[in-house]
Symmetry: C2
Subunit: 388 residues, 2 copies
Amino acid sequence: MTTQAVRHDAMRARNLAVVLGEVRRSGPVTRAALAEITGLTKTTVSKMVGDLLEAGMVAESAAPRDGERGRPGTAVSLSGDRVAALGLEITAGHLSACVADLTLAVRLRCAQAVDNRSRPPVETMAHLQELAHRAVDEARTAGLSVVGSTLAVPGPVDGGLLHTAPNLGWRGVRAGDLLDFPVTVENEANLAALGELWFGGGPDDFLHVSGETGIGAGLVVGGELFRGAHGLAGELGHVVVFPDGPDCRCGGRGCLERYAGQEALLRASGAAGVPELTERLRAGEADALRACERAGWALGVALTSAVNLMDPGTVVLGGIFAPLFEWIAGPVREAMSTRLAGMRRSVPELAVSRLGGDAATLGGAGRVIHRVIADPAPHLPTARPLTL
Amino acid sequence: MTTQAVRHDAMRARNLAVVLGEVRRSGPVTRAALAEITGLTKTTVSKMVGDLLEAGMVAESAAPRDGERGRPGTAVSLSGDRVAALGLEITAGHLSACVADLTLAVRLRCAQAVDNRSRPPVETMAHLQELAHRAVDEARTAGLSVVGSTLAVPGPVDGGLLHTAPNLGWRGVRAGDLLDFPVTVENEANLAALGELWFGGGPDDFLHVSGETGIGAGLVVGGELFRGAHGLAGELGHVVVFPDGPDCRCGGRGCLERYAGQEALLRASGAAGVPELTERLRAGEADALRACERAGWALGVALTSAVNLMDPGTVVLGGIFAPLFEWIAGPVREAMSTRLAGMRRSVPELAVSRLGGDAATLGGAGRVIHRVIADPAPHLPTARPLTL
């Protein structure tokens, strides 16, 4: 390609992103208003809107009359009818998938309870692939084109490599290479925080705690995920609660996970699963209440260290802590406020996630959608579906 | 002022910042090269350079010949001869001041050992004011004009209010209001991290630990200080080491400060001060070695939690941990690597700060200089000195 053609393509890509971003922010919006807001010419705006219409990323509707004497025109909005994204998650006990469209409406969710600790990565990934294909097929029958996917995994990911997932028994697995379609692999706690940001309807500054077998956290400051130097930030489950405590699967000792992880909670309460635990809590059983109190206290101690170090706006409890919130929030709050109140004007508020265990899967789909909106050009003239 | 005049002023301010920023990055540089790099016209560049020369922010020197046939021209560099900044710090046992010029050369340092815990804030601030006046006077005799100052304090600062400094016994003090010149008050750990970034010659990704009576930390990611939602991030000293440990001045229990703060270290070792402690360590005294080992272990446990949550590039030990590095680094490293190695490809390296206890004072002066370079206009036509 000539230099001029490259420049022209880069300019077009930039203009498409500017127009689509503005439609998302202010739609429904007329072409004339888009030109005025973006500073692009009306001709450029019309061309970009035409391309986005063709790709099914925007749709037209009747615009409200522009004052009394105005003619009724057409306005442009983001369209959820064509472009969609796939979010996937592997936990120790579940596989799940969801499809969200360009407007971030959730179009499809499915989850299967399955023990992923007892089988090798290839088997789990083959099972996940089946689930993914089914989700994409179902989306296709609804007229949707899935253009990308993200996979949430329970461990630190660095350059596509899942370094270790102690709760799956995995080490050094390139999970993305075991699927027959392109996928971005990302830590579940990071994606859960993004899910909370985009689908949870909460504030822009929070620490999202995603309790499952492991416990992860994702910090959002000013609407941006804090990732640290290598994208490994937020390993709340391995914050030290008792330095001489019991050995942890991570190689350390006395980590939070050993006191407030799903296994520790169930063992202490004698329940077989979280639904049974919540039933017992509702019935006021002493063992269950004690288990929650102990876990909440440990979570409060670890969150004290997290608040001292990371200074989050609020703390959102998700994953298994969402259904247990009613019983666990009190002890968490107490441990935090007695330890933190002396050092700061106010102790961060504790909130419950509305998404619970779905946050990471949703965050994965949302991440794809956000990238498409930030740079729609590669998906034009028509959005290319994942080849799977 | 008319709208047009406001716009003209804003444009001039932006151009001044662009030119000064470029001189800092690429100086010595000719006016022609500046025009080419910045995209401004030669006339604009010459006008901006003229103004910056007059304000003493840049200086001229002979430029290297531009090829064989070129005439010798003049190049422009940042000048350290006129504009300077004042950094101040209060700790439990010291008052200190430094002056740095526009090139970030340190022109003056002074520190006084004094017990600030035994007297009210007004007395300490009056003493600090005396020190500040002396430093500014000395700078003036060297031809420098001090244009701004920053004060480092040992506690969380929110909107100019020092919420609490348990190691000074201060609560809710607006320290800046007790001085007769304008000053920005900021947490010492944040400023120490910035000092390390600007004066330490290290990498762009690190957690700086500033051990004094209290222990603070400042995280720098990609050359930017991480501040959290309210600027209160990095309270490493109150990370929980033993949840049932001894009461801490912060209101919590078993905080790192109780195991590795200066007081704890000196009490355990029986030394009267850090210099005596290092002497005893050099002599191989068992009590001193044991005290350092214990403090290093606790610091390693707290840093394990910090690395899990914040994922720093490297960990830089400053403050009193700098002179103790030889003895404390081993136990810190051991505690971190046994607990962290299982979860990540590599455990962050441990480095010693070259600045030691001066980091926060230098960071305070550096902060003023960085703001002047980012927006020089308010300091023109001639840099206005602090009125004091």
